[in-house]
Symmetry: C2
DNA sequence: ATCCCTCGTGTAATCGATTCCACGAGGAGG
DNA sequence: CCTCCTCGTGGAATCGATTACACGAGGGAT
């Protein structure tokens, strides 16, 4: 029952707790003989230091908090995975919180994380600026934004820039003859929500194409909203020729809606998505997507955060996204297999 | 910089730290006047108790550890989500560890979790019995297995029973005229790895069908292994007519391999998978799968674990899985749209 | 031979909470 | 009016580590 503590180790090794602590923390000034006896005792007793006590004393937990927007979104799980990996390599562990795209749930997790005295926080804010995040940032909690961010805060941001890729996408679509392009946007309160629309609109403008309000669907980055927005598009007197979903889950919803209508992609309507995921290769048809360097983002974010924690001064990082053209918008251009279902 | 502590609150409220603690923990015997002053001080100072100190003293963290086998697997993320949700409802928080199907990584996370003095552990073991898990179980760490388990341990198990569904699947396949059925198995060291093969073999036997060794692919529940196993099947002098992947990621790999060969599903070869996920509706073609009641499993697991922690005696839970027939094995039987790409 | 510095070590304070115990005030009962 | 019990409260020990400080022994320089 009583788990072994540093005292037990000290007793067995015939030294004081101070010496045991010094051995365990690789501090100076321990005789080889004592070190050896301590190590033997640790081993014999199966002693593991109590991290609670240690953290209480040292005021550091070697733990990072990561609040992601939605665990069910493959983009974020991949991000989470790379974050954990890099953190582990640097000697930190990660505690995750899943915001489920709900600001109040995000705040719940941030509060919990802060209560746990994490050393730093990685956030992909679900909203434009919860007071909690603002306060934490101003209170000096080491913090880095990843993917999404909150403007006006002196917090490093690690993200992908999709502008060029969106331009490429629009060029691709225009080249395929599409003129009526619609977008399912994310929440306007998120940077990725509004930026992707802006990038899309700008790219459209280069081709003299408009982006009427009716062609902007309001989504929340989750599948259900993608379905509803697509249904509205399809019910329009003049439906769009292309639907561009601002994330992969809304694209899934769009797929649902299009299928429910009995329509075919790309014959009846074309589809493209932000965020590439393995499944897009195998959907019917394969979905054209904008791929982010997700793993790199996660690693860069952790490095920025640990820099901050350890007193260095990290820079914001912006990595380019790229277009991966498949067949969901028409004639595809990749060098992949040439199969066509009606060949 | 100095974060506010209970002392500061006590000082501002003009009471002792003991009283503050009593107010915060809803203990008996605090005068209304004092309670009010304490609450006011807490509010004014924005005081948040230090959970580290509290846990050190009380020897409980109100935190559960969840070690999942693979975050990139949608089945496990859905499980993780429901686990977190239920835990939150019961006043616990969750710390996740991602084992990535690697026993040594699993052990790393379990050790970290134990070091953090979590109140209980939810595990889906990546192997048949790491010494660490065995020791923890015997040492009395409250523990519940979910999805997979380790035999011979007095640890409650919450899982789905796929035997009936596998039988339904084989009946479905047999009814469609398939006779040469292959399976991509998970690691034999996992219960789900070996059980699904056994269930498949038993069901086959009912129809007098054999399961030759060449038709058993050794996978590890990850996409790459599904691809490799499928390639081997396809290279056989007499390839199988159906490939049944024991999880969704290996099915994804199988899809990759089949596509790379330029083959068509179900025309050239049929495919089915264990674990249903939203993407299976939209793959080309939609994939027949065995669906687990994932959300229910997660919730039941958390309830079992909290029961254990709080001194009650939970039972193991086994929930049924069910077959969801789509078109990847031939003529499909659902009531969905009747689209065929070559109609 | 004396002094001083270094090295290894132990004692005790500390981190921020919870909680046992003791104590004083005030009300009820005799 | 005295006694006893209850209630509200504060002091101090405690959880398990880290670490500042003190101290004794031993070696080198003078």
């Amino acid at each position: 029952m009583a788990s072994v503590g540093i005292k037990d180790v000290a007793a067995r090794a015939g030294v004081s707790v101070a010496t045991v602590s010094r051995v365990l923390n690789a501090h100076a000034s321990v005789s080889p003989a004592a070190r050896e006896r301590v190590l033997a005792a640790v081993d014999a007793l199966g002693y593991r230091p109590n991290t609670l006590a240690r953290s209480l004393r040292t005021d550091q937990t070697r733990t990072l908090g990561l609040v992601i927007s939605d665990v069910l979104n493959p983009y974020f799980t991949e991000l989470a995975r790379s974050v954990e990996e890099e953190a582990r390599a640097l000697g930190y562990s990660i505690i995750f919180g899943n915001a489920d795209e709900r600001p109040e749930l995000q705040d719940h997790h941030i509060r919990t994380l802060l209560d746990r005295r994490i050393d730093g926080l990685l956030v992909s804010p679900a909203d434009g600026g919860s007071p909690l995040v603002l306060d934490a940032a101003r209170a000096g909690t080491p913090m880095v934004f990843v993917d999404r961010w909150i403007p006006g805060l002196d917090v490093p941001v690690v993200r992908a820039d999709g502008r060029a890729a969106v331009r490429d996408l629009v060029a691709h679509l225009h080249g395929l003859g599409h003129r009526r392009l619609a977008i399912i946007a994310g929440p306007a309160a998120t940077t990725t929500g509004s930026e992707r629309v802006a990038a899309f609109r700008d790219a459209l403008a280069e081709y003299g194409l408009p982006l009427p309000d009716a062609y902007i669907g309001q989504g929340d980055f989750q599948a259900g909203s993608g379905r509803r927005a697509t249904e509205r598009f399809l019910a329009l007197p003049e439906p769009p020729e292309v639907v561009f979903a601002a994330d992969n889950l809304m694209a899934l919803g769009a797929l649902d809606a299009i299928r429910a209508r009995g329509l075919r992609i790309p014959h009846d309507i074309a589809l493209a998505a932000f965020d590439d995921i393995p499944w897009f290769v195998h959907t019917d048809p394969p979905v054209t997507a904008i791929a982010q360097p997700t793993g790199e983002l996660g690693r860069a974010a952790v490095r920025a955060l640990t820099d901050l924690i350890e007193g260095r001064t990290p820079e914001s990082v912006t990595l380019p996204a790229r277009l991966v053209a498949r067949s969901s918008c028409g004639e595809h251009t990749t060098t992949g297999a040439t199969r066509r279902s009606d060949a």
